[in-house]
């Protein structure tokens, strides 16, 4: 595997999870979650703490990252989001409230980094997580394991949403909250579960991304535009669209930088953030509702299928 492909796969699976987390929360609660930035960083620090203090591989600490991320989600729901949803606050207000929560979390992360430095004499402000990785077939193991974990996570999520009773009631709430409420679905619980899942996804995604990039306390803060770009590219209407969008954004960033730097020289590396943003802007101009807005079914039917309905 080319080095850009292995790093790109790791990074893209992380971005896919975080973008999926943003999309899931947006379609359920209409909240654009800024706090994903800090939740991702928290996930990374949970894994870092485990690896440096207790040893072992990063992968065995992922469950803890998911749990801590879910807890931050629960706190945000009960402390903030629930009251605003009850008040029927505007979309921008919901967005700003998560921004405030994100900044509080960011300050706690910074303090935690200080604490780690002082008490355990670690260097948590510039971390290369891939040092703790091992190799398979001469490649970094993360390039195989992380996409697999991401796929497994998404499969479980898919079965949860389509096969379990609660998942179906969750989808019903997404489709039509009022109707779901009248048919006896507890929307409060649906919102809570969506915060739990998206918190866990964000933390897991952050710990993935740290395997491909330098882990810092402001890691999430620098990558949040890309997470949002992934979610927006996916169209914000469909959780699988968000995941696909994150994957596309992550892979094109690595592939694009690799190709451009090869042809134009290394100065292009500094502008790497421009590539995914350009892709997002271009896609939005052609498909204003993102990737999931592409009428793929219609196109296929038009080309290969028969016309439905009374063809008189």
């Amino acid at each position: 595997m080319a080095p850009w492909l292995s790093s790109g796969l790791i990074y893209a699976s992380g971005l896919a999870l975080t973008a999926g987390s943003i999309t899931l929360l947006y379609i359920v609660t209409r909240t654009f979650n800024f706090a994903v930035a800090s939740m991702a960083t928290i996930g990374f620090y949970v894994v870092y703490t485990g690896v440096t203090l207790f040893g072992g591989l990063p992968y065995q600490y992922y469950p803890f990252a998911i749990i801590i991320g879910s807890i931050t989600g629960i706190i945000c729901y009960y402390g903030l989001n629930r009251r605003l949803l009850n008040r029927k606050a505007a979309e921008i207000t919901l967005m700003m409230s998560t921004l405030g929560y994100d900044l509080v979390l960011l300050s706690l992360i910074q303090m935690y980094a200080d604490y780690l430095t002082y008490t355990f004499k670690l260097f948590p402000r510039r971390v290369t997580m891939s040092l703790f990785d091992f190799e398979i077939f001469g490649e970094r193991a993360a390039a195989f394991i992380l996409p697999l974990i991401a796929i497994a996570f998404l499969t479980i999520l898919h079965f949860f949403l389509t096969k379990t009773k609660f998942g179906i009631s969750m989808r019903a709430t997404i489709e039509n909250p009022t109707l779901a409420g009248t048919s006896g679905i507890n929307s409060d619980r649906v919102y809570l579960v969506s915060w739990v899942i998206s918190g866990g996804m964000a933390a897991l995604g952050g710990s993935f991304m740290a395997m491909a990039m330098t882990g810092t306390p402001v890691m999430g803060m620098y990558t949040i535009p890309l997470m949002f770009a992934g979610a927006i590219l996916g169209g914000l209407g469909n959780i699988y669209g968000g995941i696909l969008g994150g994957m596309v954004i992550g892979l094109t960033e690595y592939a694009g930088v690799y190709i451009l730097a090869k042809n134009f020289g290394p100065w292009i590396l500094g502008y790497r953030m421009g590539i995914p943003l350009f892709i997002m802007a271009a896609t939005l101009l052609i498909f204003p509702r993102g990737l999931s807005g592409i009428p793929l079914g219609k196109i296929i039917k038009k080309r290969f299928g028969q016309k439905r309905g009374a063809n008189v």
Partner: protein, 386 residues
């Protein structure tokens, strides 16, 4: 009719009492700081207040009055800062026969050039004044250009999409400045010629009133603008864009105008900030300082209220400064476990946003929708018509 009028009177009285109360708190805190730390801390607070109130007022025009979720305020600030960092110094250098091309921004040349320009500026107050005006005009032009550029794709998008695109654009501009060393030196900061050098040791004491006057002028301009028919259009667009469109308002045009004016004013704020600090480092113009802090100021002060914005900036700047100067005395317990109390600034920022949203949704000074003409004059006009 009577009840409506009296409730309006009551609302006015309520706002006035709020303003007086907040002002009293601000003055008390300032007095406390003055007696414990001296005048210099007051001056540094005032300078931050002027710069950030300009930036926040421009944010208020776009978000509070027009309803655009401007999460990319930093883009216009960066445009102003880059314009002041890159262009006026080059013009002066070319004028004096010094190197003014790409090499102006390289750190080995720049640190020798700027003192020569400063020496010329210090020799005549006319040149200094002209330089300051040139800086501000260039900053406003650059900001307007960026605002127009942003408005092109932004017009098509809606609420959250728009906010995120603006945020991404602001970040991207910062990285461009950080990597493209021709503009402002890339990763090494570029010095800005100092139009206040002529005052020597009194530089700081002069900057504060000058900036304050500029801020007051912009405040008056904003008040006039938002009370004018244009301001009415903006509010109409914010409250219901469909009905505004149905009433014959050209939504795209009004939005573009609001974005361009707001960006030009924010760029003036960015230019003043750069003149005050004396150097431009692209990496220092962060989203946190120039987008999120202004948002917090605006939300605390009251969205859609210019005087409220001013109070919000004042109050929060004082609190920020207090965290910085009392960090070892008040937060010594954090230092004992190795935590830098400066991070509490972020906590304050986040907590203010959360508390305002939960308990004070309209801010300290809520928006007051005043009629364009005073009520007695409206009555007179009506009487004349009949």
């Amino acid at each position: 009719m009577i009840t409506k009028e009296s409730s309006g009177e009551k609302f006015k009285g309520f706002i006035a009492s709020r303003i007086v109360f907040v002002l009293a708190v601000i003055i008390a805190l300032l007095a406390f700081l003055y007696f414990s730390r001296g005048i210099s801390i007051i001056l540094s607070i005032l300078i931050q207040v002027t710069i950030f109130s300009i930036i926040t007022m421009s944010l208020n025009l776009e978000t509070g009055y027009t309803g655009i979720p401007q999460f990319g305020r930093v883009a216009a600030v960066i445009a102003g800062a880059f314009a002041v960092g890159a262009i006026p110094g080059r013009i002066m250098a070319a004028f004096m026969g010094l190197p003014a091309g790409a090499e102006y921004a390289s750190d080995t040349v720049n640190f020798r050039l700027v003192p020569q320009i400063n020496a010329l500026l210090a020799s005549s107050w006319l040149i200094s004044l002209g330089f300051l005006v040139m800086c501000l005009v260039l900053a406003a032009l650059a900001g307007a250009l960026i605002g127009w550029l942003i408005s092109r794709p932004a017009i098509r998008l809606k609420e959250a999409y728009l906010g995120i695109s603006l945020l991404a654009f602001g970040d991207f501009l910062m990285w461009v400045g950080h990597n493209w060393s021709i503009i402002v030196g890339g990763s090494t900061p570029v010095n800005v010629p100092d139009p206040f050098r002529i005052f020597g040791a009194d530089r700081f004491n002069v900057i504060v009133p000058v900036f304050f006057v500029i801020a007051i002028l912009i405040f008056i301009y904003m008040n006039k603008l938002t009370q004018s028919p244009f301001g009415r259009n903006l509010r109409m667009l914010r409250d219901n864009d469909l009905s505004a469109n149905a009433a014959g308002l050209n939504i795209v045009k009004v939005r573009t105008q609001s974005l361009v004016i707001g960006a030009a004013i924010a760029a003036i704020g960015g230019g003043l900030y750069v003149i005050y600090t004396g150097s431009v480092a692209a990496i220092g113009l962060t989203r946190l300082t120039f987008t999120f802090w202004p948002w917090a100021y605006m939300m605390l002060g009251g969205i859609g209220s210019n005087i409220g914005v001013f109070m919000g900036v004042f109050l929060l700047t004082i609190l920020r400064t207090m965290i910085i100067i009392f960090r070892s005395t008040w937060f010594g317990f954090l230092l004992q476990v190795g935590i830098d109390p400066l991070w509490l600034e972020y906590t304050l920022l986040g907590a203010v946003i959360i508390i305002v949203i939960l308990f004070l949704p309209h801010g300290l000074v809520p928006e007051k929708v005043a009629p364009m003409l005073p009520a007695n004059r409206v009555k007179k006009v009506m009487a004349q018509r009949q």
